[in-house]
């Protein structure tokens, strides 16, 4: 028995090391389709690579925006700049509280915001956090916080990608990567906002998570509460905002009501989906979850008038 247990321990150590080596070799050698559980995307569609590089140059902002794509596609830092607010948008694709927490630990001390506008939705507290974890692993510096985040997400794809990303960063393989600021569809604006060039409403495009899948993720909830504590102790004023979405009436899941009550119990919460606000699906949206630039301008003006000036 003793020999068996000793061999198990030795094999576990050997397997960990061997596994990591194989992940790196596989990541380097195999074509993309064969790397099912490594998803390393430097400069992915949310412009995260550019955003985190830029975040290092910003300090002492008036407003910090947080959240998923509804944050970096809804809060136009240029509009806020024009109104005299220095702001930075730290949103990223499918960003869940687990990733927000990592980003804040890194950038909150230097960004030192007076106000934090956190775009929340029914999904963030129910998300598994995989997509955003992969985004962060490929575009942000790997450190202990990232490792903790990967452990919390606890899925094979972020684990493998973490190993591969660590290798790439140790070898400085992506140091010279420059993400294009403009693509056929998007334009990155200074301060982290991403403008959609297209004004046409695509009613069929929906995010993968449907309202029927909603289920509280305890780890996300814990991370969310840590975020609020972190922001409170930094002295920043917190505003939780639900950005406008098309077909809002489809948000009829019973859990959404309890999630909204939960948000409202934690910090001032504003839902910009009231009938009198005048958002029209075909006029102000690109898809069900994202405003077009016309919608962004309307929403930001409304936000500044109602929440910042008053």
């Amino acid at each position: 028995m003793k020999k068996f247990l000793i061999h198990i321990i030795f094999f576990a150590c050997f397997a960990l090391l061997g596994y990591a080596v194989l992940v790196v070799i596989w990541g380097e050698v195999m074509p993309k389709g064969f790397k099912k559980n490594i998803n390393y995307r430097v400069g992915s569609y949310g412009h995260m690579n550019t955003r985190v590089r830029e975040a290092k140059q910003f300090e002492n902002v008036d407003i910090l925006f947080l959240g998923a794509s509804d944050a970096y596609r809804s809060f136009d830092t240029r509009i806020f700049e024009a109104q005299g607010y220095k702001s930075f948008n730290l949103g990223s694709s499918s960003q869940s509280p687990l990733q927000t927490e990592v980003l804040l630990k890194k950038y909150l001390p230097t960004l030192n915001p007076k106000k934090v506008i956190y775009a929340v939705s029914p999904f963030v507290l129910c998300s598994d956090g995989v997509e955003s974890a992969l985004d962060l692993e490929a575009n942000e510096d790997i450190d202990w916080n990232t490792f903790n985040m990967v452990m919390n997400v606890n899925q094979i794809k972020p684990y493998n990608t973490f190993i591969y990303a660590t290798y790439r960063q140790l070898r400085h393989k992506d140091d010279n990567f420059i993400e294009p600021l403009e693509t056929d569809e998007d334009k990155y604006a200074k301060g982290g906002f991403v403008e959609k060039k297209n004004y046409t409403f695509n009613s069929k495009l929906k995010v993968a998570t449907t309202k029927n899948d909603l289920e509280f993720n305890a780890r996300q909830k814990c991370a969310f509460e840590n975020i609020l504590l972190m922001l409170q102790s930094s002295g920043a004023e917190i505003l939780l905002v639900k950005t406008p979405v098309a077909h809002y009436q489809e948000y009829s899941h019973p859990l959404w009501d309890s999630i909204q009550t939960y948000y409202a119990s934690k910090a001032p919460y504003y839902n910009f989906n009231q009938p009198n606000m005048g958002f029209v699906d075909t006029l102000h949206f690109n898809d069900q979850y994202h405003l077009n630039q016309r919608g962004v301008e309307k929403f930001n003006a409304m936000l500044i008038d109602s929440l910042l000036k008053n």
């Binding site: 061999h7 061997g18 596994y19 992940v23 490594i38 094979i156 493998n160």
Partner: protein
């Protein structure tokens, strides 16, 4: 709590430490631990049926004793009938009740009578088909005087509920398993290492092969009415391989876990897709079920029909295979599946080749062309029949078959790029299975004569493939629904 979950790993580590380090050498206490852990394992799935399991086990235990103590043969037969009614009654009620009601209603409608029979909202207890057969084998063996009733109730209850095999087999016979529970167990390094290897191979089969094939299979079966026949054929092959990798993977894990506890559990698969004909296939597929049915159903039937010569044998095999089909699920697709499988035996019986065992030579690197032909034709036959196994209804299966007969059989299958990756994984799997086909499972002897570093490296490569190709979300085992 399935074998490939963190919950099971934690549960098993605690169990393993208690079993070998705390209770080592105290057989009865180890059996009590097995019993408690098995009920905990079952309750983790669904605690509501635990009373049913305990009650059913107790009644079987009592009937076994009463049957043994009966003074006349008539009384023994009555006790046996009561045991059958108790065991099969539960199975029939939970698994087949709605099927019988629905079939009865359909039959009435066929003759022009309308019936409004209620569909009962019955949840099928997990593993009921497996543990029912386990307790029935105990009663049959007492009836046939092959065993004495178990005097230690803990051992008997632990036999019925033994957690590695409780949910999805293999179906151990009482006469082979109860003596193992009665005897002292000593930890054996080689046996435990062998168990770990088998668990690793089972995980590979399930997580790498079956789960990736399940995506391809679903893609085809969910869109069978729009895809070309070439894609349907790939889908049929994919499902045949998926169900094998899924179920034999589970069996490997169950047998491996049993080995770690010092038990030898019944072998369930013997590389069935390398069978040279259909008879050999069924000797290699779900062995613990087919051998159970051979002993308790097929053999009595052949004796009963012996005066009818080959016709009797054909009838016996068709009934036996229909029961095999029906055991899998309460649906006409399974019954027709079994009937067709039975019909495949007819040419072998007519040519007098039914009992002639045809096997590949041991140690051969490549099959002869006749053998290759036999293997391929048997696989195609099985894969095409498995369409019934996968289909929701007979009409869906018929539609699938009709769509297969088309010139689009030679068209591009129009499947997504993941198909190539899955094909690559399946190729590796088949090569490893072929190399290891003379062993109990494919990697049983892999690298045993190599230096430790090389052998461990081979295992790490398998671990790596699991980590690289497993699905992110948990996919349930196919046989859990049976």
């Amino acid at each position: 709590m399935i074998f490939n979950s963190i919950e099971f790993l934690c549960f098993f580590i605690v169990f393993f430490v208690l079993y070998w380090l705390v209770l080592n050498g105290r057989t009865r206490l180890q059996n009590i631990l097995i019993l408690v852990a098995s009920y905990f394992f079952y309750a983790w799935w669904d605690w509501r049926f635990l009373a049913l399991v305990i009650g059913g086990t107790y009644i079987t235990y009592a009937i076994g004793k009463a049957m043994h103590n009966a003074t006349t043969e008539k009384a023994r037969s009555w006790w046996m009938r009561l045991g059958l009614a108790q065991g099969l009654g539960g199975l029939l009620f939970f698994k087949y009740c709605n099927f019988f009601i629905q079939s009865f209603t359909d039959a009435l409608e066929l003759i022009g009578l309308s019936a409004n029979a209620p569909v009962l909202n019955i949840i099928v207890p997990l593993g009921i088909s497996f543990y029912t057969f386990r307790i029935l084998s105990y009663l049959f063996d007492i009836k046939n005087r092959k065993i004495e009733p178990e005097s230690d109730w803990v051992a008997f209850f632990a036999y019925v509920a033994f957690f590695p095999t409780f949910i999805s087999g293999p179906i151990d016979r009482a006469r082979t398993f109860l003596p193992q529970l009665a005897s002292a167990r000593t930890f054996n390094y080689d046996n435990a290492a062998n168990g770990l290897r088998q668990i690793l191979w089972g995980l590979f089969k399930k997580l790498v092969i079956a789960d990736n094939l399940s995506v391809l299979t679903a893609q085809v079966f969910d869109n069978y009415d729009t895809l070309p026949a070439s894609a349907l054929l790939i889908g049929a092959f994919s499902f045949a391989l998926e169900v094998y990798a899924d179920f034999s993977g589970y069996s490997d894990m169950a047998i491996g876990v049993s080995r770690l506890l010092g038990f030898n559990t019944a072998k369930n698969f013997d590389f069935p897709y390398f069978a040279l004909n259909i008879a050999e296939f069924w000797r290699k597929w779900h062995i613990s079920l087919t051998s159970w049915l051979t002993e308790y159903l097929f053999t009595p039937l052949t004796i009963a029909f012996r005066d009818w010569n080959k016709a009797g044998l054909i009838l016996a095999i068709i009934i036996n295979m229909m029961v095999v089909g029906f055991w899998h699920g309460a649906s006409w697709t399974f019954i027709v599946f079994g009937f067709i499988q039975g019909c495949y035996f007819i040419p072998l019986i007519l040519r007098g080749k039914f009992n002639k065992k045809k096997r590949l030579q041991k140690g051969q690197l490549l099959p002869t062309w006749q053998e290759a032909l036999g293997i391929i034709s048997t696989f195609i036959t099985i894969a095409l029949t498995d369409v019934l196994f996968r289909s929701e209804s007979l009409s869906q299966a018929m539609h699938f078959y009709k769509s297969l007969v088309s010139t689009s059989l030679f068209a591009s299958p129009a499947l997504d790029g993941k198909f190539i990756v899955t094909a690559f994984l399946v190729f590796i799997f088949i090569v490893l299975e072929w190399i290891g086909k003379d062993n109990e499972y494919a990697i049983e002897k892999l690298g045993l004569k190599w230096p430790t570093l090389f052998r461990w490296s081979a295992y790490v490569i398998i671990v790596f493939f699991i980590g690289m190709y497993m699905n992110t979300s948990e996919t349930p085992f196919i046989y859990f629904k049976f």
